[in-house]
């Protein structure tokens, strides 16, 4: 290493470190601002109070063993995802809601009547659903009875609520003037009541007259509102745009560090209850150009509850990471794993597929089968002999691949899958059979014991192409070259987010560790690579995240190891 290049490297390192510091400080400032906003939001949010008539409704069900057991079962299946098993407001979904779920184990719950809780279950308040239709009235009272067991009674005693039919209400006559018996009222009392009745009559009449005038105006307003609502109402074809936007910075040793940005709109048309079209674009800055890619263009037809047919350009169903995890707001690190994403398996298939899922006992099985254009075998670039080009969409040499994927979910938190893809590739004088395989495992669990959300993911892929002689005549100046064309690689990743922490800011922090590798040293590509990537994420919303990561890279063979620092800000919408 010359003196100059050493100095350059030092300067680059300093630049890198200071950029990391700036980005880090920026993220911290962002965290601070957001927390402050959260506090403001909390103060400004009005309390949710049941109307008086609802609060006065008496609970018709005694809190006996039967109703408590039924209430508990309903609570476990319907309320726990948000309110948590103990009603602490810490269910698995709680961190992702715009409003924190109510803490049902708080003794303040006793300041609300049974009627009020019953009304709230029935009405809901976004994001809490209305359970009027999903749960019967009797079942809602059962839930009320069970919810009552979650909170301790306050030390100062429990307030007694007036209810429409309760003994408290019917005992009101006890406050009537003394000295009268139950059957008759005195003349004085009669006159007083008559006078009160007359004044109420007058009041009602007066308010009636006054109200009569604006009724027309109200009708007119109502008509306009109805029309506006109608205009805004979607037609039978419903369309929506989802997707994600990305901004980032990455600096890899030996390369120029650079900012980057991308926009991935995904347009969805629900033509009717069976037909869906999805089109995904990727608009990315690529040097001086903006690259545009058609990622997905698929028409799907829902044949029945268990079978869906798809055709067009779709995400490769045998590659679990690509189909389910590659979206930047879903993928927990700024870059994508070796072998799985970039290299051994195609990202998309141009073809048709049949896929779906079915329950099997208490478990679930999902499947897909597809046909598509075969990838193009590289027989002309000596440095990449035997690798595949996946972005040829005109099916060179008329080859078709057949593939599939099967996944088994023994419990909802765990999915184990296997996928394959096979076919003939290569030009007519160099035909070869190809087999790609992939094994995947994904486990995601919200654990009260471990205080947060754990995600363990892994995938291993194998690529095999029959032995071929490349550049057989030596015309390219490298051949004849023959080698066993076997490549493999994959990743394992663990992440943990302490969503049950008592520290609010810590709930949004998520450390990630990934190990990935790609083995192809014995092919003309000539190197194996393995990396450890250490990431730290801060979640701003359930789909917006700031990611920072450092990657320790190790190459064995041609090329030099190149550690990297990466920063990414992404929002899914």
């Amino acid at each position: 290493m010359t003196h100059r290049s050493a100095r350059n490297t030092v300067a680059q390192s300093i630049a890198r470190v200071s950029l990391a510091a700036v980005l880090g400080a920026g993220s911290l400032a962002l965290v601070g601002t957001l927390s402050a906003q959260d506090v403001v939001a909390k103060v400004a949010q009005p309390p949710w109070i049941a109307p008086d008539w609802a609060a006065r409704k008496a609970n018709p069900l005694p809190a006996d063993e039967k109703s408590l057991a039924a209430g508990k079962a309903l609570f476990m299946s319907t309320c726990v995802p948000c309110h948590g098993p103990q009603g602490n407001g810490d269910g698995a979904a709680a961190p992702f809601l715009e409003k924190k779920p109510g803490v049902l184990s708080d003794s303040k719950m006793w300041l609300q009547s049974d009627g009020a809780i019953f009304w709230k279950i029935g009405e809901g308040s976004t994001p809490m659903p209305s359970f009027k239709e999903a749960i019967t009235e009797e079942q809602r009272w059962q839930i009320v009875n069970f919810v009552r067991t979650l909170a301790k009674k306050p030390a100062g005693g429990v307030p007694v609520f007036a209810t429409a039919a309760s003994p408290t209400a019917s005992s009101a006559p006890s406050t009537a003037p003394a000295g009268t018996d139950d059957k008759y009222v005195s003349r004085a009392e009669y006159d007083k009541l008559k006078q009160e009745l007359e004044s109420i009559k007058a009041l009602v009449q007066r308010s009636g007259v006054e109200a009569a005038r604006p009724v027309d105006a109200i009708d007119k307003d109502l008509g306009e509102v109805k029309k506006m609502a109608k205009d805004a109402f979607p037609g039978s074809t419903k369309m929506t745009i989802v997707g994600f936007g990305t901004a980032g910075y990455s600096s890899r040793r030996g390369e120029n560090g650079s900012f980057n940005g991308a926009f991935n709109p995904l347009m969805l048309w629900k033509v009717n209850d069976r037909l869906l079209f999805e089109g995904e674009m990727e608009l990315e800055l690529d040097g001086a150009e903006t690259s545009t890619a058609l990622e997905v263009a698929q028409m799907s037809y829902l044949l029945n509850d268990y079978i869906t047919l798809g055709a067009g350009k779709f995400l490769n169903p045998m590659n679990f990471f690509v189909e389910r995890q590659h979206m930047n707001w879903v993928n927990k690190l700024p870059d994508r794993p070796l072998a799985v994403y970039d290299g051994l398996l195609p990202e998309t298939i141009l073809g048709m597929q049949a896929h779906g899922a079915a329950p099997v006992g208490s478990t679930k099985v999902e499947y897909s089968f597809f046909f598509g254009n075969a990838p193009q075998l590289n027989t002309t670039d000596p440095a990449a002999f035997g690798t595949f080009s996946y972005d040829n969409f005109d099916n060179t040499h008329d080859h078709v691949v057949l593939g599939g994927h099967g996944g088994w979910l023994p419990i909802p938190e765990l999915e184990i899958g296997y996928g394959f893809m096979t076919g003939t590739v290569g030009p007519s004088d160099m035909r070869a059979n190809m087999l790609m395989q992939s094994a995947d495992i994904n486990y995601v669990r919200d654990s009260q014991k471990l205080g947060g959300l754990i995600a363990l993911r892994g995938q291993w892929v194998w690529s095999h192409v029959d032995k071929l002689t490349y550049d057989p005549t030596g015309a390219l100046g490298f051949g004849p070259v023959t080698f066993s064309n076997n490549r493999n690689g994959g990743y394992a990743q663990a992440s943990y987010r302490p969503t049950h922490s008592s520290l609010k800011w810590l709930q949004n922090v998520e450390p990630v560790l990934r190990y990935d590798m790609l083995n192809q040293k014995n092919t003309p590509v000539g190197f194996d690579e393995d990396r450890w990537t250490l990431g730290l994420n801060y979640w701003l919303t359930s789909t917006s995240v700031v990611k920072g990561a450092y990657q320790f890279d190790h190459k064995n063979g041609t090329g030099e190891s190149a550690d990297a620092f990466m920063f990414q800000f992404v929002t899914g919408f």
Binding site: K238, A357, L456
Partner: protein, 96 residues
């Protein structure tokens, strides 16, 4: 060659560790959230299916019309059954 096979071994053992952890975790699962989809509520299916791939999206994030399209899209993308689709959609729409 030797190094290559040791790398291969590392990869396989990493997957094996993940599998072991997952099975261990499954054994520890006390939420009783198993059972057939036909016995599950929309709330349960929403939490279990959506959260396996990405952070759960709040029902308040989309309008009813948007949810209709988005949940249909997820049925196609993530292989939900028809029943899961209907129950999750009904749950999300009931929050508005």
């Amino acid at each position: 060659m030797n190094q290559n096979s040791s790398k291969y071994f590392t990869g396989i053992s990493a997957l094996a560790v993940l599998l072991a952890l997952a099975v261990f975790g499954a054994g520890c699962s006390t939420t009783g959230a198993g059972g057939q989809a036909s016995e599950k509520t929309g709330a349960q299916l929403w939490g279990q299916n959506c959260g396996r791939c990405h952070n759960i999206r709040s029902p308040g994030m989309y309008s009813d019309a948007q949810w209709e399209v988005a949940v249909m899209h997820m049925r196609v993308r993530a292989n939900l059954t028809g029943e899961e689709h209907r129950k999750i959609l009904a749950f999300l729409k009931s929050a508005h």
